[in-house]
């Protein structure tokens, strides 16, 4: 890549060759107040030549003959002024009620909001979620119509599941592409929420197509804060302390209820759920300094997070620093930018299993026996939860670093070139130790240690050029570029047992007795992915006609190493058009009425490498064998998504009411899935294939209404709502059951049906009639043939008595924000809800029946839906619950202190916030939030493996973390 940097340098050197004709200067002021507007853009129309006003609103710029200057600034309407022969051109900008002039980052450049013809949502700091938020995606939860962010429970060490417009892919990467400050594929883990200025979400195909094969699941563009030119130096300090409390426990039998129901009384009384949880205190500090002279801006920040979850021991300590520097040279023709960020996180993952066993463990069992040892017994899937937490270790350290350097150079007034080089590194080391006294994983092995290391690198080089021109009433901008992305990952893992002492934990692997006798027990693995590359060429055309008609088109040709030789390259086109109808029609009260439509094709790549090649594995069976374990699929190609999006942006009643409506239709073809193949023909019965087609249709609405906008009191409620439906259009298998309920006793019990021509997310099973006979549910003769056939294996048979008993995907998701200011006070209340979805309450399905054979092993769930006569566990509609909910997700009350101008503080704000204040729901489990994908079942101390299944939504599994209610007290200080 060195040669590109050299090229960049030569660009700089040749820059001074071009000079300008004459100079104009002036002051930009606010039309209402007359105050100067610092940082406003001043651009020569039809070119990329321009500058930014200084702290006093002054600017100076070289211009040619007959030029027109365009003045823009966020929140103001753009203003065009013909220069004529004047040497001084002042401008007073009027506030833009529609905010459509806002500049929005759209990937390889930015556009004014009005020019955008696709579905893009832009959020700034003000509208982010507040409180104890450690994962940037949570800033967006509920705020963007069509974007679902769910973190079941809120384990501080888990990242959220993010879905844009439902299922965008089946077997490929389901998470949106994240772009941080222009760096594609950056990690959200390496940016502190405090450092984020704006987040833009590109929702539809026509917006995301410029990102080609990685754009199908949507694109999230993060812009971090930076210094302002001519803005002087300022500093800020943000801090909060928060207390996370257990919001909700599983309803279980008390010890006396348990004994009465037939449980063995072991003599003690223990509230296990209480024993393994706590109030998790966290504190966060963020210190930043930013500033800018005429030529140079900078921002540096340091973030410290000490986060503790509600499960004992769970949490992390994190230090993150970020620095950005921008320098403008050669009469502002050249901009050089450098960003760096470092994160060091030390996590205690603790054991989510303790939550599961706290629900299940006999409530009459003591924590410790008379000798002071933990009470433990050899039972299936049953461990003393306090012992799990106190005896064992599960922690790790993660370091992430990234940097990128960016050059932007205006070759001529019309032509700008941009080059960006970045790298990102991640390093993760983990350790687990289970002493021989721990029945959980340690006892069987005489002590067990596990260590693992993962190291990853990502390199990006991109360059593009933009040519802007204009003639009569047409503005035109054309871009073309090249992108090179390379990713690799290496890991290493070892598990050993039989330790002479537990004292050294996982730090003394050499003392493992397995080294002498271990045979197959020594578990070692190392691996490295191929250097997986994506190479692309792309181009884009933006055209504005008459400042009222907008056309956008882009094309990207992209290749990936992950696909079959003849299918590595794909083409991803997009077109979009929009028109501001208020410019041409009298629409009465509407100030803005923009109609837009876009079509775009994006792709998806499999997560794994090597799928187009045979996979030969070696093991020691029979003394050593190599065998083909996965047949190559040389025909493997892109999963492709073609999407049409039609939308309206409007503002009415003098800007008091504004809103956006989008409807879309997306066809996902050739979706990649590891599926069952004919074992007689292939060497194994599983292979990755382009297996079928999905269609999703949806609608999204966002409305804002300014109820009051006085200087004393303002209130702006906003509502976002979305709904979608995904249908499996083609699949090699007509209908199929998925999502096994699991052990104990309910393996081979599939709960989700997938069928061609029907909607995704059908929870499928026998129907409970409400009657109980001999301890068993009386199930419904669904097909009315007089013969009850509810054996699991007949779920899809004609004579099987099964039907849809729930829906995994919600019909409607809404978010309702309220921003109220009253004098110095501000109140932010955010409600969130989802409706129409159900959840399989697996805790109830296993443990609610008062089963004489199992009650001695496990405590019983006693929900308000329990039917005490039932003594046999049998999956049915009884355990599928409507999980509609409406929640006060976040309420924040803040106070801005008045600062005298002599104070050394510029601003001081204090706030108090409650997350998950209350939830209205009929769901009897821990958390009614939808579950969009299924990670499968696990038991008896086993570990979750494999990819989550997006075709099986709606299963609330037993390993989910408990939900927290969090109280936060925070302070923001500006210097």
């Amino acid at each position: 890549m060195k040669k590109y940097l050299l090229l960049g340098l030569s660009l700089i050197l040749s820059a001074s060759l071009w000079a300008q004709e004459r100079t104009v200067s002036g002051t930009v002021t606010d039309a209402d107040t007359g105050e100067p507007v610092p940082g406003a853009n001043v651009v020569v129309k039809g070119t990329t030549t321009g500058t930014i006003t200084d702290f006093d609103g002054n600017y100076q710029l070289s211009v040619g003959e007959n030029t027109t200057l365009v003045f823009t600034f966020v929140g103001y309407a753009p203003l065009e002024v013909a220069v004529g022969s004047r040497a001084v051109v002042d401008a007073s900008l009027a506030l833009d009620i529609s905010e459509l002039s806002e500049v929005v980052v759209v990937g390889y450049g930015s556009q004014q909001k009005k020019e955008i013809t696709s579905s893009v949502v832009s959020l700034d700091e003000e509208s982010f979620n507040k409180g104890n938020i450690n994962d940037p995606s949570q800033l967006l939860q509920g705020k963007v119509p069509g974007l679902s962010v769910y973190n079941k429970g809120g384990d501080p060490n888990e990242t959220s599941t993010i879905r844009l417009r439902g299922i965008s892919t089946v077997g490929a990467n389901t998470e949106p592409l994240v772009v941080i400050d222009g760096v594609i594929g950056a990690s959200l883990n390496n940016v502190d929420p405090n450092d984020i200025e704006t987040i833009n979400v590109l929702k539809d195909g026509s917006a995301a197509a410029i990102y080609g094969s990685r754009g199908s699941s949507g694109v999230i563009l993060v812009t971090t804060k930076s210094g302002k030119r001519g803005g002087g130096v300022s500093a800020s300090y943000n801090t909060f302390v928060s207390a996370a409390t257990v919001a909700n426990e599983q309803p279980i039998m008390t010890p006396s209820e348990y004994i009465e129901a037939g449980g063995n009384d072991l003599g003690s009384r223990t509230d296990w759920q209480d024993e393994v949880t706590r109030t998790g205190w966290s504190n966060v500090h963020n210190l930043s300094v930013s500033g800018g002279s005429d030529k140079t801006t900078f921002r540096v920040s340091a973030n410290y997070r000490n986060i503790n979850g509600i499960l004992e021991k769970s949490g992390f300590d994190q230090i993150n620093t970020r620095a950005s520097l921008n320098h403008y040279a050669l009469n502002d023709r050249l901009k050089i930018g450098v960003n760096m960020s470092l994160t060091n996180r030390e996590s205690n993952y603790s054991f989510n299993e303790a939550l599961r066993y706290a629900v299940l463990f006999n409530p009459t069992a003591p924590i410790r026996n008379d000798q002071g040892n933990f009470f433990q017994a050899i039972l299936f899937d049953n461990f003393n939860p306090v012992a799990i937490l106190e005896q064992n270790i599960n922690d790790g350290k993660r370091k992430e670093m990234n940097f990128n350097a960016n050059l932007e150079y205006s070759l001529t007034d019309q032509l700008t070139v941009n080059a960006n080089y970045g790298q990102q590194y991640g390093d993760d080391i983990r350790g687990e130790y289970y002493p021989r006294t721990s029945l959980f994983r340690g006892f069987n092995r005489g002590g067990l240690a596990r260590r693992s290391v993962e190291d990853s690198r990502f390199t990006l080089f991109e360059t593009y050029a933009t040519y802007a021109t204009g003639f009569s009433n047409v503005d035109l901008s054309v871009s073309a570029g090249y992108s090179f992305q390379e990713e690799e990952r290496e890991d290493f893992y070892i598990e050993l047992g039989d330790f002479p002492s537990d004292a050294l934990g996982y730090y003394a692997l050499e003392t493992s007795g397995d080294r002498v006798t271990g045979k197959q027990l020594i578990d070692v693995a190392s691996s490295a992915t191929p250097e997986s590359r994506i190479i692309a060429f792309f181009g884009r055309l933006n055209m504005t006609i008459d400042n009222g008609i907008f056309l956008n088109a882009s094309i990207r040709r992209e290749g990936s190493t992950k696909l079959g030789k003849d299918n590595q390259w794909g083409i991803f086109p997009a077109v979009g058009a929009g028109v501001d109808l208020t410019r041409y029609l009298d629409l009465g009260t509407f100030n803005v009425f923009k109609f837009r439509a876009g079509y775009g094709v994006t792709g998806s790549l499999p997560n794994e490498s090597g799928l187009a090649q045979d996979l030969v594995e070696y093991d020691f069976q029979e003394g050593g064998r190599a065998r083909l374990t996965r047949a190559a699929n040389p025909d493997l190609k892109w999963e492709e998504k073609a999407e049409i999006n039609v939308g309206i942006d409007f503002a009415a009643a003098g800007g008091k009411l504004s809103g956006t409506i989008d409807v879309y239709n997306r066809d996902i073809s050739d979706f990649i899935l590891e599926r069952t193949v004919d074992a007689a023909i292939y060497e194994t019965d599983r292979r990755f294939e382009n297996a079928g087609k999905l269609n999703t249709k949806g609608i999204e609405v966002a409305l804002n209404y300014q109820v009051a906008n006085g200087s004393k009191f303002s209130w702006t409620p906003g509502i976002v709502a979305s709904s979608y439906k995904t249908v499996l259009e083609e699949f090699i298998i007509d209908e199929q059951m998925r999502a096994n309920l699991g052990a104990p006793g309910q393996n081979s019990t599939s709960m989700v049906r997938v069928a061609v021509g029907e909607e995704i997310g059908q929870i499928w099973g026998p129907v409970f009639t409400g009657d109980v006979e001999d301890g068993s549910q009386v199930l419904k003769d669904v097909n009315g043939d007089g013969n009850l056939n509810t054996a699991q294996g007949n779920a899809l048979e004609d004579d099987g008595d099964f039907e849809q008993i729930g829906k995994g995907i919600p019909d409607l998701e809404i978010g309702w924000t309220n921003q109220i200011t009253y004098g110095n006070w501000d109140l932010n209340a955010f409600f969130r809800g989802a409706f129409g979805h159900s959840l399989v309450n697996t805790f109830r399905a296993f443990y609610e029946p008062i089963d004489p054979g199992a009650i001695n092993s496990y405590n019983r769930i006693k929900s308000d839906k329990q039917i005490p006569e039932i003594t046999n566990a049998q999956f049915s509609s009884l355990y599928v619950e409507k999980a509609d909910f409406f929640r006060l997700d976040n309420i924040t009350l803040g106070y801005n202190f008045d600062m005298s101008s002599s104070s050394s503080f510029k601003s001081v704000r204090a706030y108090f916030s409650v997350q998950n204040a209350f939830t209205i729901t009929d769901y009897s489990g821990i958390d009614p939030d939808p579950v969009l994908q299924d990670r499968g079942t696990v038991d008896n101390g086993g570990r979750l493996e494999g990819q989550p299944d997006v075709l099986s939504p709606g299963i609330d599994r037993r390993y989910n973390y408990f939900t927290a209610r969090t109280f936060t007290l925070g302070l923001n200080v500006g210097f």
């Binding site: 030569s10 040749s14 037939g262 072991l266 006999n362 017994a377 050899i378 039972l379 299936f380 070759l411 069987n444 092995r445 050029a465 090249y482 090179f484 045979k519 197959q520 992915t529 191929p530 250097e531 060429f537 190493t561 090649q613 045979d614 030969v616 594995e617 070696y618 069976q621 029979e622 003394g623 050593g624 064998r625 190599a626 065998r627 083909l628 047949a631 069952t676 004919d678 074992a679 007689a680 023909i681 292939y682 060497e683 194994t684 019965d685 090699i732 298998i733 104990p744 006793g745 393996n747 081979s748 599939s750 068993s776 294996g793 048979e797 054979g853 009650i855 001695n856 092993s857 566990a873």
Partner: protein, 507 residues
């Protein structure tokens, strides 16, 4: 000039960029086709052979003695093994209860397991048969092994695809065609196979034993009885002089049974280089971990039917060897306890395996049922056991000859049959038969071959498959003599040229 510079800069940028379009994928942590599967190289320290055939032979280790495949469907469907529902445990959608009751479905994962395990073995044989470096004897071995896997498919599913080249789709064959294929393959390779003793490898006697087995069942498979052929094949083994009955029945199945004189062909299970035998976990109750200091917790699944247990008379060494019954103790002699014992269980917390089982479902007692102990457990057993599992052993060949002789002569007290059966009874320390009935022969064969995946085939051949037994009603549906083709595989074949058709009665 300026424009020239600009254009050349742009051009060089674009050119430099387009040079970087290399999309070759190089695997770094995995082997691909470059790795020669017939020459695995190192890793021989476990005592395996290095004949290059391991990739194919190792496939018999999967499913022969673990849960969820060949072993499960051939045992749980019979009267010698059962998985009861123990309260909330082992219901599993009713699949094992259905199998016990002969109401299995094509979605049963055990059937899919058995199918896939067999075809995985066939695929590895086919891959190795593409190699040119094997000598005639090795090629003959691979074809014998492949024929063995096809026998499993023919026996369980009947109508399957006979694939003999990697990746080549073919039309589904009838059961009789599969029979003909197996027979012709074995007869063709017999002259090339070794006539010496081999370990975990097919030799001429393994091929003859397989021939004897298919001939004995030929009437079931093809409609035409072949008892004389069965006798001839059995005689070939008997007269070879290579094998004999082991003086100790227990030795044939113990953790140190390697190279037992009775073994003709084994699946060479080993705790490190031959994993896949999990019988201890499958049958023992959780706390029995303490009896044997097992390195993995057992699952409390399989036991035997009381009736079958009682078919052994006291003093039969096979009864002692094949089952675990009575109170259980840890290595220090203390009774082991189940703190979650059933209130209804008169034994309370101390674990006591009783041959009597209170019920099949829903509340089978956690401690009920004699446990499957034929392949005995060793202390500190790793998750995978060390005992070799005979695919063919001398005693079976004797029983085949005995039965074929009796059937050929329509006389169950046929002297040859009596003589051969009495060899086994004598070893078991039970009195010799002077006369024998068909039922007595079937029971005797059951006692001898218990837990070796033989019972299903035997019951079908004796017309006893539809008999009633504990918690299983009588039926007379001949379609049940075949299992259904796994639903997943029927569906998957829809994407191929030749689609699989379900067996009769299962549509």
């Amino acid at each position: 000039m300026r424009n020239y510079i600009k254009i050349s800069i742009m051009a060089s940028l674009v050119l430099a960029a387009s040079a970087c379009t290399d999309l070759d994928e190089e695997l770094r942590g995995d082997f691909s086709e470059d790795f020669d599967p017939a020459n695995p190289g190192l890793g021989q320290s476990g005592g395996g052979t290095d004949d290059g055939l391991s990739a194919a032979y190792a496939e018999v280790l999967n499913g022969t003695a673990n849960h969820g495949g060949y072993f499960s469907v051939t045992e749980v469907s019979t009267d010698e093994a059962v998985i009861t529902q123990k309260g909330g445990d082992w219901f599993d959608g009713g699949i094992w209860l259905n199998m016990h009751r002969h109401q299995w479905q094509s979605t049963n994962p055990g059937l899919l397991g058995a199918w896939n395990q067999s075809y995985a073995g066939i695929a590895q044989c086919n891959l190795l048969l593409q190699e040119t470096k094997f000598n005639a004897e090795q090629v003959a071995q691979l074809r014998t092994l492949r024929a063995y896997f096809y026998w499993r498919l023919m026996d369980l599913f009947g109508n399957v695809k006979i694939v003999t080249e990697p990746g080549k789709d073919v039309e589904q064959s009838s059961r009789a065609e599969v029979f003909a294929f197996i027979e012709s393959e074995l007869l063709a390779v017999l002259p090339d196979l070794s006539t010496g003793r081999t370990y975990a490898r097919a030799n001429a006697w393994g091929a003859q034993a397989l021939l004897a087995r298919i001939y004995l069942n030929a009437e079931v498979y093809t409609g035409t009885a072949r008892y004389q052929d069965a006798i001839d094949a059995a005689d070939a083994v008997i007269n070879s002089g290579v094998y004999d009955l082991s003086s100790s029945y227990a030795d044939v199945f113990s953790p140190t049974n390697e190279d037992n004189i009775e073994h003709i062909w084994v699946a060479p299970f080993d705790e490190s280089v031959g994993t896949g035998m999990n019988l201890a976990q499958m049958t023992l109750h959780y706390p029995s971990q303490l009896t044997y200091q097992l390195q993995q917790q057992p699952w409390n699944g399989y036991s035997t039917l009381e009736e079958f247990y009682n078919s052994y008379e006291d003093g039969d060494v096979r009864k002692e060897n094949n089952f675990i019954v009575g109170p259980q103790y840890d290595i220090f002699g203390n009774p082991i306890l189940d703190v979650a014992f059933d209130k209804a269980d008169p034994d309370g917390a101390p674990v006591n395996y009783t041959p009597e089982i209170n019920m099949l479902a829903p509340n089978g007692s956690r401690q009920a049922g004699a446990r499957l102990g034929k392949f005995s457990f060793k202390e500190k057993q790793l998750p995978d056991m060390d005992n070799d599992f005979p695919l063919f052993r001398y005693a079976e060949v004797l029983l085949t000859k005995a039965e074929a002789s009796a059937r050929l002569n329509s006389n169950w007290s046929d002297p040859t049959a009596l003589m051969l059966v009495n060899m086994l009874r004598e070893r078991a320390s039970v009195s010799e038969y002077t006369t024998m009935t068909e039922e007595e022969f079937l029971a005797e064969r059951g006692r001898e071959m218990f837990q070796e995946s033989s019972r299903r085939t035997d019951l079908i051949r004796f017309g006893a498959w539809g008999n009633a037994w504990w918690e299983k009603a009588a039926h007379s549906d001949p379609n049940l003599n075949l299992f259904p083709i796994p639903n997943d595989q029927i569906q998957a074949s829809q994407a191929e040229t030749f689609k699989l058709t379900q067996n009769p009665g299962y549509d």
